[in-house]
Symmetry: C2
Subunit: 191 residues, 2 copies
């Protein structure tokens, strides 16, 4: 993940996400983080204000990525099925690129302080937009007329836990995983 | 949930599961439990040995219910699709009847002590049997030839998180939920 262009701040965020995932936000100290990075705790503060600021960065970066991805998908003049396929790809892409950040988001979002409400707003809007795409698909008769909340729950539970599972499956490329998941979630498993 | 036939021990287990769900196993004390039940902490010990014994009871009761359910389903001479439908029903039934216990299982299984290995064995066997049913379905050409781990992950992530979602959806009966989920997970969402 580390590239030539990674800034010190990005490195801090990346390593902090890994520590949050391993030990949980509450158990990680700025001292732990400095130690893991082999630098002095004081020099962390040249790049980042606080542990809370790191958590905000980890979680909101991802939440905003989902929000922008959703906006771009809703902007496309595509069928509901095509939009759902694009959403599956969005989840796979973010889960492949940032599994540690997603783990921190899922386990530690409730530790957000000032930004908690903003995060919850983004999450609620995302769900509402996802629901709306399914709804339109049912109206268009592209999608089966099954209880919409069950469809939404079923897709989101799979997509939101991808990060738990992706690290074990690195034999599958991102594209293969998107293709398999799309087939399963949209067309079902039976022949 | 409380019925005439509930023993004191069952009541302890039921209320403890609710507390574990609210605060996490580690944060709950026998004193909290006694207070919630309006009895003396000392009298808890007439019915149950320790907090660990309660956790074991909560988690292993559920894990064994899944194991026995799986054994009975594998015993049926049914198609793979029928067996998968029966597994969906099994998950819905347990999640509807014991959402607090499932929450404790999902969040606190790692706090099992002596019984941890036994629990992990049951879980691994359950997954292996689930995988085997899918595998047989692919061989029989009942199930699409998609990466088997992606099918298994996708079904299990939905089924294992049902307990998070069921309390919000009590407008749906257990049978309706089973029917909708079966349709979505087996036949997919598109028309």
């Amino acid at each position: 993940m580390s590239t030539k262009t990674e800034t010190r701040k990005e490195e801090i965020i990346r390593i902090a996400a890994k520590l949050f995932k391993q030990k949980g936000y509450s158990a990680v100290t700025m001292r732990d983080l400095a130690k893991t990075m082999g630098i002095k705790a004081a020099s962390l503060y040249n790049h980042i204000e606080s542990k809370q600021a790191i958590l905000q960065d980890v979680i909101l970066t991802i939440a905003e990525e989902f929000t922008l991805g959703m906006a771009s998908i809703q902007n496309q003049k595509a069928s509901s099925t095509e939009q759902l396929k694009a959403l599956i790809q969005l989840h796979v892409r973010i889960a492949c690129h940032n599994p540690d950040g997603l783990a921190a988001l899922n386990s530690d979002w409730m530790h957000l302080e000032d930004k908690l409400e903003y995060y919850l707003q983004l999450r609620n809007d995302y769900e509402a937009n996802f629901r709306h795409i399914i709804e339109r698909g049912i109206e268009n008769k592209e999608i089966k007329n099954v209880d919409i909340e069950v469809i939404l729950f079923s897709m989101l539970s799979t997509l939101r836990t991808l990060y738990l599972w992706i690290p074990k499956k690195d034999r599958l490329s991102e594209d293969e995983l998107s293709a398999s998941l799309t087939k399963i979630l949209i067309e079902g498993i039976n022949t």
